[in-house]
């Protein structure tokens, strides 16, 4: 177990822990928006860390140009997902709110009247 393997093993396990944390949030949290909040953030972090672990492990058998390029390609997936996941979560949250799903509060869902709220914004 040379050091690169140990470091990548640690990174992959930490990434999987964050993926697990996102799933726990997805199951336990009370409301749609809280679930979106947890999966959007925890999964992105989980993917970034585990992909860096995999990219690092790929450099294990000799750092040639090919393996560096392959690792960089893995990192492009991480960067793409870093940009794409928040955008998708935002689009979903906005469309859910626009179509009238009310956020959860302690005493149940709050009655937000969209039109009256927009009228206030216009003023």
């Amino acid at each position: 177990m040379n050091p690169i393997e140990i470091i990548s093993a640690i990174l992959i396990s930490v990434g999987i822990f964050f993926l697990f944390a996102g799933t726990v949030g997805l199951i336990r949290l009370p409301d749609l928006y809280c679930r979106m909040h947890s999966t959007g953030k925890a999964d992105t972090l989980g993917i970034t860390i585990s992909l860096t672990g995999i990219a690092l492990y790929n450099l294990n058998d000799g750092v040639t140009l090919v393996s560096v390029l392959v690792s960089l390609k893995i990192m492009t997936i991480a960067v793409f997902w870093f940009i794409a996941n928040p955008t998708a979560t935002h689009a979903i949250a906005r469309s859910a709110y626009e179509s009238g799903i009310k956020p959860w509060t302690k005493e149940g869902t709050v009655e937000v009247d969209l039109d009256e709220q927009r009228a206030k914004e216009q003023k």
Binding site: E5, I12, L32, R35, I74, A88, I92
Partner: protein, 88 residues
């Protein structure tokens, strides 16, 4: 190290099954799309781990990249469809 990657991929697939619960139970259909998106995120990691097991990582990277892009676009299109007015 191979055993570690094998157990890691098994754990990731178990987490996928765990987040399938919300897809089945989820009261609103937006919950279902969120859990499917979460499963898609884990599948990207799972694909790369399988690529490591098969020692053919450079092939599996393209699969994982295409999967990530398609998952993202699918979520976007659902968001647009789900909204009555169709404006993102």
């Amino acid at each position: 190290m191979d055993n570690f990657i094998l157990t890691a991929s098994i754990i990731v697939s178990l987490i996928c099954i765990l987040s399938l619960y919300r897809a089945v139970v989820g009261p609103t259909d937006v919950d279902r799309i969120i859990s499917v998106g979460a499963i898609g995120t884990k599948t990207v990691v799972l694909l790369l781990l399988i690529g490591l097991i098969y020692k053919r990582l450079d092939m599996f990277i393209d699969i994982a990249l295409c999967y990530a892009i398609i998952n993202f676009i699918g979520t976007l299109i659902f968001a647009k469809y789900f909204m009555r007015k169709g404006v993102l």
